[in-house]
């Protein structure tokens, strides 16, 4: 369902409701019609808060339509177990996949171009097992499936991008919030590096512009930022439980810059402190000005 369909549906709902004359339902439908930019859910169940955050934005049906082929892109770039907060929480990933299928998705594909050995990353992160258990189609990245495409050119004019991500009807980005030596933090936009082919080490020379280029190109339908546990030092790989902080939060939004700007606040920073958030804001990809956003907070 795209935004236009949503407005139509809301109008239709308004009309039928007005016949029934139920004022409280009309009010709630008006509230839903008022766009929530970010939904922040807090609670002990990773799956529960994932659903709550997406519901806060208006529910999965706002994003996924019947028959969609969906790509879910977690961070499973490192050979670490979930409690080390170097990879996305497997329960968050499986909760999103489940919701997609409930909304009628035809296929939900899961992959990431891991930095170290993919077999270990997929297995040890717990994501491959969790995703398969709910019907996610987990595959290793196939080098033949990268295709050189034109990018906006802030830093990169073109780059090989994974065709499965480009050809999907919807892309849902599910990063985990953690520190990063070069870019201070790795959040949603940085997580999209997992669909990039080629020699990614070179990206670091112009990291901010490069990330904005890819984010503008791929435009995920939804970003679900996992902050159930965050990694506060020695990221992005971590390896010490003392660097992990349990926040029990999931943040969902459609504005990539806004989600990352909110993510920065989890570490006591502002969006403007993060180079690529600033660059995304400037390029018009989204806004990092949280005061202008409607943020819905849910505690469960």
């Amino acid at each position: 369902m795209n935004r236009r369909d949503f407005i139509k549906a809301a109008l239709a709902a308004g009309v039928t409701l007005s016949f029934q004359g139920n004022t409280s339902m009309i009010l709630s439908s008006l509230e839903a019609a008022e766009k929530v930019d970010l939904a922040v859910a807090h609670g002990v169940s990773p799956a529960g808060i994932t659903k709550a955050a997406i519901d806060g934005l208006g529910g999965i049906k706002r994003f996924i339509s019947r028959g969609d082929i969906v790509v879910v892109k977690p961070n499973m770039g490192w050979d670490r177990m979930p409690e080390y907060a170097a990879t996305t929480n497997p329960n968050v990933v499986s909760a999103v996949i489940k919701l997609c299928y409930e909304a009628g998705a035809k296929q939900v594909k899961v992959f990431d171009r891991a930095v170290v050995d993919p077999r270990r990353c997929y297995k040890q992160s717990g994501i491959a097992d969790a995703a398969s258990a709910v019907g996610g189609i987990v595959s290793f990245v196939d080098d033949r499936k990268f295709k050189e495409v034109k990018l906006p050119g802030i830093a990169l004019k073109s780059w090989p991008i994974y065709t499965e991500a480009m050809e999907a009807d919807k892309v849902i980005n599910i990063p985990i919030a953690k520190t990063h030596g070069l870019s201070t933090l790795t959040l949603g936009m940085k997580n999209l590096m997992g669909i990039m082919g080629g020699s990614r080490g070179r990206i670091h020379q112009k990291i901010d512009g490069s990330l904005v280029d890819v984010a503008m190109f791929i435009k995920p339908t939804l970003v679900v930022l996992d902050a159930v546990r965050v990694l506060t030092a020695n990221g992005p790989q971590g390896g010490s439980l003392s660097d992990v902080k349990q926040l029990n939060m999931v943040i969902a939004g459609t504005d990539q810059v806004a989600v990352d700007a909110y993510g920065a606040t989890l570490f006591g920073l502002k969006g403007a402190d993060i180079g690529y958030v600033m660059a995304g804001h400037k390029a018009g990809l989204g806004t990092m000005d949280l005061s202008k956003l409607k943020i819905k907070r849910v505690n469960i």
């Binding site: 930095v115 270990r120 033949r144 020699s199 070179r202 020695n234 992005p236 790989q237 971590g238 010490s240």
Partner: protein, 515 residues
């Protein structure tokens, strides 16, 4: 009938061997879950020479003892019924027609000379068995040459279909490809230094079957030699009844060169109990049975030649040792051994160059040496980080090593082991030399507290603009030498950060920092 049972048995063992070979690959879990080195564990030659050379008992010897006991009773059944290289020789040899040569009739002695050489040199701590041991040789050849070749050829074929972009063709080929990937293709294409060399030797050994069937088994195999010695007084013996009319059919069929048509010269040490003579005999005159007091021919190796082999084995020890291999700071600095490898001298006494560790290495970083570790250390494992680094949480090489040359480490222990130290080449490093942001080495550094840290500095570029740069530094106390930084360094060719063996935990002398 017995021949058929024998062929089926050979087939089963070959399939077990191949299946275990395919299982010698990570699935992402910490343990492999299969006894992939079981054939090497069952190899009495490796067992005996390793005990000789290392002067230590080692754990997994039950199977080797079983083979020894079986041979004492039954003779060389291992060669005829079990050995996977023997089976392959058997298969290739079946393409050769015609009578066995009589001119090579006495060449069987060579394998005993090789055996004596290996036993003597191992007794004096030089372990060269792996070069010629059939199981070691077979696993090495499969790992380094045959399997990479098959994988490459298969992938290239399917890639060609894939690139046609004709939908029905691509769909069909991709479906088949995905099945082959599940059944026997490796997770990623393996690449090895010297695969052509190792592969050539293997093809040569198989090719010799066209000169003489089971050429390797009859004339060269030192394990065959050892089992031959053990089978000297075996109870399972061959008898020929008076129905024999000297037709020679058995001599024609004999796989072992045991010359069975001249009964008084039947060499039980050469018989591999293939039972072909029993099956083929037109008059049904040949029988195998227990405890019959059948006369057997002596081994007849020749005193002088035996002494010669002993002396060669003796001389080889100092000859191979007059290299500076084990001296800190003198040996090849890129001789980075896998984590858990024993101290170099002890390592070489145990490594049988089977290539299991290279096969299982998750990043393909473990490669065979040529002369970096001396002739003695040929085909022993060395980590080449530019090809593949040592995966921080992987312990597979120690799990598959048959002789304990690479100790099996538990994860916490492995994470502490240094296999070398990384150092930065400031002349090539992007931030250091070219005022360009990078810091990939810091990003990937896998130790919980990163061994690579950075210093922020302000520099003025050519345009007079100020830039903040992060300069990488290596914390030598924390660095474990895994080489992930070197593998991922975007400065291609000669990397701007690289590992050398200095600082490796296993060495007392090859150290840099004060303890």
């Amino acid at each position: 009938m017995t021949k058929k049972i024998r062929i089926v048995t050979q087939g089963i063992f070959l399939l077990i061997f191949l299946w275990l070979f395919l299982q010698t690959e990570s699935k992402g879990a910490n343990d492999l879950g299969y006894p992939v080195k079981v054939f090497l564990d069952a190899d009495p030659l490796i067992f005996i020479t390793t005990i000789f050379s290392s002067r230590e008992w080692y754990q997994t010897f039950y199977l080797a003892l079983l083979v020894i006991v079986a041979t004492l009773f039954l003779g060389r059944v291992f060669c005829g019924w079990v050995c996977p290289l023997g089976t392959l020789n058997n298969m290739v040899g079946s393409m050769k027609k015609g009578r066995p040569r009589t001119s090579t009739e006495n060449w069987y002695r060579f394998k005993y000379y090789i055996l004596i050489f290996l036993l003597v040199s191992s007794l004096f701590s030089l372990q060269l068995t792996g070069i010629a041991d059939p199981l070691s040789l077979l696993i090495r050849s499969f790992s380094l040459a045959v399997y990479p070749l098959v994988s490459y050829a298969t992938s290239a074929t399917f890639d060609a279909f894939y690139n046609t972009n004709i939908p029905f063709l691509v769909n069909g080929s991709e479906f088949t490809y995905s099945i082959l990937k599940k059944i026997f293709l490796p997770f990623q294409q393996p690449f090895y230094l010297q695969s052509a060399f190792v592969g050539f030797l293997f093809v040569l050994i198989l090719g010799l079957n066209l000169v003489e069937r089971r050429f390797w088994c009859k004339y060269l195999c030192p394990l065959g030699g050892l089992l031959g010695v053990l089978s000297r007084y075996a109870f399972l013996r061959r008898s020929v009844s008076e129905d024999c009319n000297d037709c020679g059919a058995c001599a024609h069929a004999c796989q072992g060169g045991a010359i069975p048509n001249q009964e008084e010269r039947w060499k039980n040490t050469e018989c591999i109990y293939c039972m072909d003579c029993d099956d083929l005999c037109p008059r049904n005159a040949v029988h195998f049975g227990f405890l019959k007091k059948q006369p057997v021919a002596g081994m007849d190796l020749g005193k002088r030649r035996v002494i010669g082999s002993i002396l060669t084995g003796l001389i080889a020890v100092p000859l191979m040792r007059i290299t500076p291999i084990a001296r800190a700071g003198v040996s090849d600095p890129r001789l980075i051994r896998p984590p858990g490898a024993l101290e170099e001298k002890k390592f070489l006494r145990r490594c049988v160059k089977c290539g299991e560790c290279m096969k299982v290495c998750i990043t393909n970083g473990l490669q065979p040496t040529l002369f970096e570790a001396g002739i003695e250390g040929i085909w022993s494992p060395v980590l080449v980080p530019r090809i593949g680094y040592c995966e921080y949480r992987c312990t597979l090489c120690g799990q598959v090593c048959p002789t304990g040359a690479i100790k099996r480490l538990e994860l916490p222990e492995k994470n502490e082991v240094k296999i070398g130290l990384a150092m930065i080449d400031k002349g090539r490093c992007l931030p250091h030399a070219h005022a360009t942001p990078c810091i990939v080495c810091e990003e990937v550094c896998p130790t919980p507290k990163k061994a690579i840290w950075f210093e922020e500095i302000r520099v003025i570029n050519r345009e007079g603009k100020e830039r903040v740069l992060k300069l990488p530094r290596v914390d030598l106390e924390l660095c474990i030498g895994c080489g992930l930084c070197e593998a991922k360094c975007p400065v291609l060719g000669q990397p701007a950060i690289y590992v050398t063996s200095v600082g490796e935990s296993r060495s007392r002398d090859n150290q840099l920092l004060l303890p």
